[in-house]
Structures are given as structure tokens and as C-alpha cells.
Symmetry: C3
Subunit: 434 residues, 3 copies
């Protein structure tokens, strides 16, 4: 059995994240392409799109493409103080090339640390202003002796393109469930090798289903500029089709769960994810849109108005390892991934079965004659069939399954089973809603 | 004065309940007929209806009629261990006939007890599956010696009918206030000799009123199958006329008050009963529809949609005596009945006077010149006329009397007096609402 | 600098209130005229209106005009026990003339005190019933020896008129912001020399503004009969124009802040004043309309329906000095007035800038290229631009500035600055709302 266990979804996602981890990604460049290539091996249907530098995307412009081959600081003895090969966080993202000898004082002007966490390398970028920088731990910076240092960054900022991947899994309806995650962070595990891995696993799981009521669409994109670029090309179609969307980020740790609501917190995506978390048995936090910070910002922008929530284990920015070298493969775990996968598959199941039901008889149906009710009535026994009778009591065509679950406190998966039994018995019918 | 006191409504209801108590009722049969006959002596206008066994009533069918003449267990010495004549709870409701000699072991397979309350006889029925059973205390069961026992039940399950009583007290309008209670429980006092007694008392009290804005309709029916049967014949008319309804059950104990809301808890019936309880000065509990369990289930079923709440003292299922022999005439009291009567008469008064009022002058009327306001204004004195001025402030045609009471915190009966005075002075007028 | 400080608004209002304090006002008479004359010196645009005694005003009638020249009690030695010249609260408002010699016992029947505060003279009136009375401290009353006393009141109740002042400060729009305060109380400082002084200061401040989106209307009127008289002549026009109104009363003490809501607590006036108080940094209490007591009663009467809240520091009736001689110029302070002025100017600024804004680009605008965003992104830095990005996130045309402030927790004045910057950058536009 142990061998089998290594194949469970949480482990598969962990392994995929581990494969993505070493790649040096940024919002453009070959790191993104390598990442998408690995994902496409698992999901051959993925379509990869390149959008040229300089393309106008709403208020923005696709930036020049950044690639880097080397980056280090060498002391006068030729020893490398830090080296991009060891940890790609050592070089500030989008650093321009440099090759100069400097004093310690001058060097320090280009070193960035996180003084409150003296052991970790912070993650920094300078996408939209020409700059360069080296990142290291506060402790290492403080231990540097007076010397002449050689600062070297071999990078190119060139006309190129921004790259993203997209996968569509068709269903009976054109209405879509949308998943978005990003592929622009260098070697950090939870933020963000975890989101792409969860998205891939969910896509595989959906492809295996024989029936899908909805179409499912996944995008793996660079954060912010990627979602803006994607939306600039597809927002009208998404707006007309997406009924619920989920931005996946920081889904690999095994702490509690979190979500960030949509702008007004009242969409189907908000309702279904809250419901799933409520019944998942672990603590969770619902952050209002005021606490947003990932691509839900773009999807919920006024005029775009897509019903997209963010789903996280511990929310981005809320764990100390966030945006540092401590967000490594030890911080995430197969169990953490597994929990996220279970929540999101419950969300999908709930959406697939989220009909408004209408009971087809007046007054309570006689459950006893259909074997759905104990035949000897006695004190205390009613509790056992609470879910079934209460479900029927609210099957008045006005409530979808999620609303009934929220009202009566039974998990949606239990209600799906009940609805199935009642349908077989001709007692309820799905009403075409929405 | 003491003699007079024996005639107060609480005592009259208690006495009527005591008269109903010994009768062996079930969902059909002569016990129901005897019960209705006693009630009809008090309310000659009551119409008694018989619905034949086998009649289709929505998803159900009127069952065969059950009557019982004898039921006992005899030991080998010819001594009766239990006897239906002593307590009709000893025989499971709807037991089929039996006449066999059995060992103690075999006997015990047919004995039902409530182990958590070892002194009481539990109340059990098996309406919809052929079965028989004997009920006794756990203690008695445990004290039975090895012996040969004679199990005897002389009952008949025959084509007959289901019986219910109905009384209509006409008012100025066809719109109805509806009361329902049930007559299908054997010798238990609170659940349910109390509901029929309260309904009878309310009906007498209404018949004595010279003016009735609304029509009042009372039904005394078997629980579940009775309300389903009744609705199968009358639901369309009820749906078009009933503006508020009250299911009366467990109204004779003297503990706190309770109610069970309608499906969404927002009807006139919910509002008026909550308001009355709020101002009645005793603790009360509002149970959501999730905690339903009596005939409010049928009246609120999707498609039936009657605005019917349940009114109780301690709610069915919430007192330990419930559905046992301990629910006897000691558990209920004249004081308990009296409290229920007072709440329900307040409810009726509130409904009769529940107009939307509109003030007929702009700005505050001058109360002083009409003797409605103290003429020397000084610090602290305003409180005394708070109710009258605040009533006027919300007499904008948008609020009914109950809404104003809820908003300003004055009991409806005080507002009825105020409204009367203001109407006499030409300061307000009732607006035709709803 | 100290000299300059004496000119700050709080000090100016305090000085004006001190000038108004000694005048003996009532709901009619020369005291009101003197008060308005002083205010008109500051606000020459004020129009003074006289409404003759006997004029029908809705359910009321303008009373006869009351003036008083002398009022005292003299003992048999010719010493004045109390004298109107010393404190005009000694004579009950609207006292008819009297000139009789009485015993102590008889005298006491005409003396009013506040036994719970034995040191203060209470304020009493008898506007609508012919009466006379003397007010003194409980202690003084108890110290009066047996004697023959001379009760003298030289007053006239004559056909005259009720007087009020009105000032209109035009703006771009006919829609009005309305301020009301009253000028009918004799020598009490907070209630009510403070309201007229704050109204005058606000009017001066508004006159100095070069641009006004709205028209501003101020009335200085006698309480109750004055607002009724005013409304009887102008309510239709006010109802068609006033979008928010503020009744100013008890605004000179330096304790916490209060407001009384409109009838349903949901108008623009409610929203803007709550918002301003929320961000003013001091404790405040929002009283529901149930706790009303000043002219908000008339403005909010059914059918009149003006959106007028009351603004106070400590609410009328809630401070022990209320309606006694202890409400003197020591109870109010320049600091107290200054706080009220600051709240009300914030209210005006918020209303003037209360547009619905719509962002003009899809997705988040690129703030960096406009110098509105730090260019190096790193952990923790996002907070600094929280207000600007969150403002944009809710600039969807559905929320006015006050609603956004309420939602995101930033004060309106900060949002006004942000909106200005974003407008300059072409990123948002005001939507014509309401």
C-alpha cells in the first residue's frame, strides 16, 4: 500500500512543484517557457501564447523580455560571495547588466536584505524602472569585510514576448468555471510553484470526468501584467461566460485555509468556496476584497467584473516565509497540496450539481413507503432524517443546492446524494435556473 | 370571588383537557370522534368531516381505521402485567391483533421502553407498517420473571375513515386567520389535549366578539395525515385567504413560551406572534423552521406556502415528559393554559387592529389644544408622551401597527388605545394596506 | 501668534454666543429680534421675516407675542428675593402679568424648582396655556421665611408676530444643503446660543468659498412653532430641493459628539455626518430618531420628509446643565465650538465632493508610470498605496465618495485628494449621479 500512497494527488502536486522550483522565472523570459513546457507534458491540450513586447494592454504595455545567464558578487580573492546559480533570488528581478568593481560601501548601496528576518534572502523585482540589485541575508551583508568587490550580472532586456498557457476543457455548456494561477516567481515554493501544480492536477482530474456540465478554463500566466495582457485579449468573452472563477495562489502549505472575496463578496464563486471551506473541517479565514493582492485585483476591476475569488492555504503575505528564500520545498507538503485539491474538487462538484430543485408533490412526501423513513415513529428518532426532510422543505425552486446547504448546515456532498435519491423517486426535479 | 375564579379561561381549558385526556385517540378511529363530539358540545357550529380510507391525499393515502377494545399481557397466574384499560399508552398505536402465549424472551421482543427514563411508559406508533407492540417502563420490563406470557391485543384495522372537525367564524372580510391543532394523541396532556382546548376557548371568545375584521377558521385534525388530508381538499382556498395561521401544540405547561417560524420567518404570523411574546413579559424562544416538527411542516411545504407558525409553551420534544406517560394532567396547569390564551388573544387583537396609519396633518399636531399633552414644558417630562408622539412620527402610511410596535418598543395594545384617541381627534386615518 | 489665536473660529463663535447670552428670548418677542439683529450685522444677506399672531400654520397657530420688562418677588422689607434683571430664567416663559401680595404658602404655589439639582434655576415655559410662574433654586425656595411677598411680572401678551431669519448662499445647483437652529431660549449658553453662533460661522465660511456646488440655506427660528411656521410657508420648495439638512443644537461644549438620525436613518445627511464623526477621532453617539427632541421632529414629520439630522456635542437632555441656569458661558468653550465647526466643515466638503467616480481604464491602471506607485516592489510595501488602489477598485460608478470611505475606512478628505490626482491623470471621471 505504501507504494500506492506515493501516487496520491497531494504527492503528485508536490513532485510537480519540486520540478518547477529551481527554474528562474520572471514576468517574461525563458523561465516562464520552461515552466509551461513542463506543464504541457502533463496537459498536452495546453495552448501557449506569446504576446510581443510593446503590445498595448489596457493601461499597460508588455515589457521587454528579461533573461539572465549569470549573476554574482566576487571578492578580491575571486571567491563568489553570492551566486545566482545557487539561488536565483540573489538577483533582483529585471536587473540590467552590470560588470564593475566597487568598494564595500558602494556595493552595499546595491544590496537588499530583510532586516526583520536576518537569515533569509528577500525576493525583489524592479519591473518598470531600469535598475539592478543583489539580495542576500542581513547576516551575510553584515559579515562582508572591507574589500574590492566585483558585481556581475549577465542579463538581457530585449524585445521579446510575454508567455502564457491556457487550457480549455469543454463541457455541456458554454458557461465557464475559470481557474487562474501564475508562473512568474523564481525559486519560491508556495508562492508560486503551488498554484500551477494545483491547477494542473485539477485539470487532469476534470479531463478524466465523463460528464461536465460546465466548460473549464485554466490559465497559467505572469501575475498582474499577465492577467492584464490576457484580459486585454479575452475579457469580453470571459465576461459573457465565466460564472465562477478561482485564482490559485499559496496552496501548498498545511496550515489553515483562506480566501479573498470578490469586490462585493456576493458572487457564486464566493458562495461556493465559503460553503466548501465551512464543511471542510479546518479553520479558515475569509478576507474581504480590501485585503486583495493577487490577480483577483484584475479580474474584479470595475468594468472587468469577473466573479473571481482567490483561494489560498495561508494567504500570500500572511506567512513569514512569504517572498523570501524560506518559502522553499520544506514549507510546502503533499498533505498541504492534498487539502487544497480536496477543497477545489468539492467546489467543482458543488458547482456541477448546483441546481435549483423543486419538490413535485404538495405537503411532505411519504418517505416511508419509499424506504426513506423509519416506520416506527418514536421520541428522538427524527434527527436521523433531518437532512432529507429539510432539504425537501427548502426545495421550493428558489434556492440552489449551495443556498440550501448554507441554510440547513448539511454539506453539499450529502445533499447531492439526497437529491439523487429523491430524483430517482420522482420527488424532486431540477429547475432551470440562473 | 373564589368561586368566580374557577371559571377563568385557564381553568376552563384545563377542565376541558382533563375531559379529553382519558380517551384513546389515534390518527383515525372512534377516539377522534369522541374527542370531536365533546368539543362540538361547546362549539355547535363545528362541522365534522369523514374521509374514507384509501382516499388519495397528495402523496399519501388515508389509512385504514384503527380501533381497539382490549390489550394486555397476562402472566401464567392470570395476572395482568399491563393493561390498556389502565393506560392506553401500553399498546403501540395501530397495533394489529394478537393472541399468543410466549416465553419472556419472545415477549421482550415486542416490548418498547425508554431506557433513559426508566419510570415512564413511552408513546409509540406504527401507522404505516403492520406491527404490534407493548410499551412499559424500563423498570417494569427488567422486573419481569421467566414465565409464559399471554399477549393479547383486540384491535381492528378496517376500511373506515379519517375524521376532523372544522369551525368557521365569519368576519367582515373573507381574509382568514387560521388555527390548527391535533386530536390524534392518546392520553397525554400537553401533547395533545392542550391544543384542542386552547383552540376551543379561542373560538368561544371570538364568537362573543361583536365585530370581527377577519374570518376565523379552526381545524381539529390528526397530525400529519390529517393536515395533509385537509390541505388536499382545501389548500387552494386556504392559500387565497389565509393571511396568518397558528398551529397550537403543547400550550398547557407553565414554563416559558416558544414558537416555530415559517419557512423564511418573515410572514405576518411570524411578526405578530414575536411581537406578542416580546411584550408578554416572560422568556420565549423563537425556533427557526429548521426545528419544525408539528403540522407547520405541511402548511409551510413548498407550493402550499401558508403563513402558519407554531405556538407552544415549552416546545414539543423539548420537555422530558414529551411522548411519555409523564405528560399527564399534573404537567399542565390552569395557569399554563391561561398564559397561552392571553398571548393568543393579544395576537388576535393585534391582527384586528393592524392597520397602516397615516397622520393627517403636516408637522407634529398640536396635542396640547386637544388635551393630549402637558401644557407646562419642563425638563424630563417628555417621556410621558413618548409613545403618542413616536407613534405619530411613524404613522407615515408605510408601517402597520405591529411594525411601529417593533420599532418603538411599545406594546401593540397601548398603540391600539393611542390610535383610537388620535382617530377620534381626526389626527390619523387608517390606510387600506396589504 | 497669541493674538492671532484669539481669532480662530472657535473663539469667534464663543464670543458671538457670549454676546447673545444675556438677551431674554422666547418663541416670539423682541429678544428674538435683538438676536437676529446681532447675527445680521455679521451676515447682511440675512432676510428677517415676521409672521403675524393668529396665522394658521398647519395644525398650529402663531401665538400672541410675549414681551417682558420686569419680573420679581419682593419681601415685606422691599428686598427683591429674585429679579428677572439678574437672570431671565427666574420668570417662566410666556407668564401673564401679575401684581399681588401673597403669603409664603400662596407664593410657593407659583414657584418652580428642580429638586434633584438644588442649586440651579430651572428653565420653564407655558406657551399654550395662560399661566405665570417664578423659577428659583430649590435651596432658595426652602430658605424663604414666612412673610408677605409681592409677586410682580410686567409682561404683555399682544397681537404681534413670530420672527425668524433666513440666509441663502447660492451655488451652481438649486439643490440645497439646509441648516436650522433656534433663537428662542433665554440665557442658556449651549442650548441655545451655540447653534446660532455655529450657523453664522458656517455661513461666513461658505460665503468665502469661491465655488459652491450646492446652494446653502440657513434658518434661525424659534423651536417647534418656528420650524412649523417656516415649513408651513416653504415645505414644498424645501422638499423639492434639500438633499441634506442639519439641525444645530448644543454645539458648544467640549465633551463627545452626537447626532440624531432621520426617521429611518438612511439619508445622505445621516451618511455624511456619521462618516465625518467616524473619522474625527473623538467618541460619538448616534441616537436613533426615537431619541429625537429638537426641530428634527418637524423636518422629519410624515409628509414633510426632509432629510434633516441633528448635530450636537453632548445631546440636549443628556447633560445635567440642560435647561437650567448652569448652562452658562462656563459650560461652553472655544475648543468645543471649534470641534463642531471642524466636523460641519468636513461635512460640507464631503458633500461638495461627493461624486460617484468611474475608473476610465480596464484592469488596474499603471500607477508607476505616473509616479503614483513605488517602482521597486518588495514585501510589506503595498500598504502605503492601499488607499489609492482601493479607491480605484471601488470607483465603479456605483459608490459615492462617502460610500467608498465607509467601505474602505479612509477619511473622505484623503479620498478627495486622491480623486483629484486621479482625475488629473485622466484615470477617473465623475459620473452624474443621484
Amino acid at each position: 500500500m505504501k507504494e500506492k500512497r506515493t501516487d496520491y494527488p497531494g504527492k503528485q502536486m508536490y513532485d510537480l512543484a519540486a520540478q518547477l522550483f529551481p527554474i528562474c522565472r520572471s514576468i517574461t523570459g525563458n523561465g516562464v517557457r520552461q515552466t509551461l513546457a513542463i506543464l504541457k507534458l502533463r496537459l498536452p491540450g495546453m495552448r501557449i501564447t506569446e504576446v510581443p513586447s510593446g503590445t498595448k494592454v489596457f493601461d499597460w504595455e508588455v515589457p521587454r523580455e528579461w533573461n539572465i545567464s549569470e549573476g554574482y558578487i566576487e571578492n578580491s580573492s575571486g571567491e563568489r560571495v553570492i551566486d545566482f546559480q545557487e539561488n536565483n533570488l540573489h538577483i533582483m528581478g529585471y536587473s540590467v547588466p552590470v560588470d564593475v568593481y566597487v568598494t564595500l560601501e558602494e556595493l552595499k548601496r546595491h544590496i537588499y536584505t530583510e532586516p526583520s528576518q536576518p537569515d533569509v534572502i528577500p525576493y525583489l523585482t524592479s519591473y518598470y524602472k531600469e535598475n539592478f540589485g543583489f539580495c542576500m541575508s542581513e547576516n551575510q551583508k553584515n559579515s562582508l569585510p572591507e574589500d574590492t568587490y566585483h558585481m556581475v550580472i549577465k542579463s538581457q532586456l530585449t524585445e521579446g514576448s510575454l508567455t502564457y498557457g491556457e487550457l480549455v476543457i469543454p463541457g455541456e455548456r458554454e458557461e465557464e468555471i475559470f481557474f487562474s494561477t501564475y508562473v512568474c516567481h523564481p525559486s519560491m515554493a508556495n508562492n508560486e510553484c503551488s498554484g500551477p501544480a494545483l491547477a494542473a492536477q485539477l485539470a487532469e482530474w476534470l479531463l478524466e470526468r465523463s460528464e461536465r456540465r460546465y466548460t473549464y478554463r485554466f490559465v497559467w500566466i505572469p501575475e498582474t501584467i499577465g492577467s492584464i495582457t490576457y484580459l486585454s485579449r479575452h475579457w469580453k468573452e470571459r465576461k459573457s461566460r465565466v460564472i465562477a472563477g478561482f485564482n490559485l495562489s499559496c496552496v501548498g502549505d498545511n496550515d489553515h485555509y483562506s480566501m479573498v472575496e470578490t469586490r462585493y463578496g456576493d458572487t457564486l464563486a464566493d458562495r461556493v468556496l465559503k460553503n466548501a471551506l465551512r464543511h471542510h473541517g479546518k479553520e479558515f479565514t475569509v478576507y474581504p476584497f480590501l485585503k486583495r493582492g493577487s490577480d483577483e485585483r484584475q479580474y474584479n476591476a470595475p468594468g472587468v467584473d469577473l466573479p473571481v475569488v482567490s483561494f489560498c492555504r495561508t494567504k500570500y503575505g500572511e506567512f513569514p516565509q512569504y517572498h523570501t528564500s524560506a518559502d522553499n520545498m520544506d514549507y510546502v507538503s503533499p498533505e498541504g497540496f492534498q487539502g487544497s485539491f480536496e477543497v477545489m474538487t468539492k467546489v467543482v462538484c458543488a458547482l456541477e450539481h448546483n441546481w435549483n430543485y423543486q419538490v413535485k408533490v404538495l405537503c411532505e412526501p411519504q418517505l416511508g413507503k419509499r424506504g426513506l423513513y423509519p416506520t416506527i415513529s418514536r421520541k428522538g428518532q427524527y434527527d436521523k432524517i433531518y437532512a432529507i426532510t429539510t432539504f425537501i422543505a427548502y426545495a421550493d425552486g428558489k434556492n440552489d443546492l449551495i443556498a440550501i446547504s448554507d441554510r440547513i448546515g448539511c454539506p453539499v456532498d450529502m445533499l447531492i446524494d439526497i437529491a439523487e435519491k429523491l430524483k430517482e423517486n420522482g420527488l424532486i426535479a431540477a429547475v432551470e435556473e440562473r
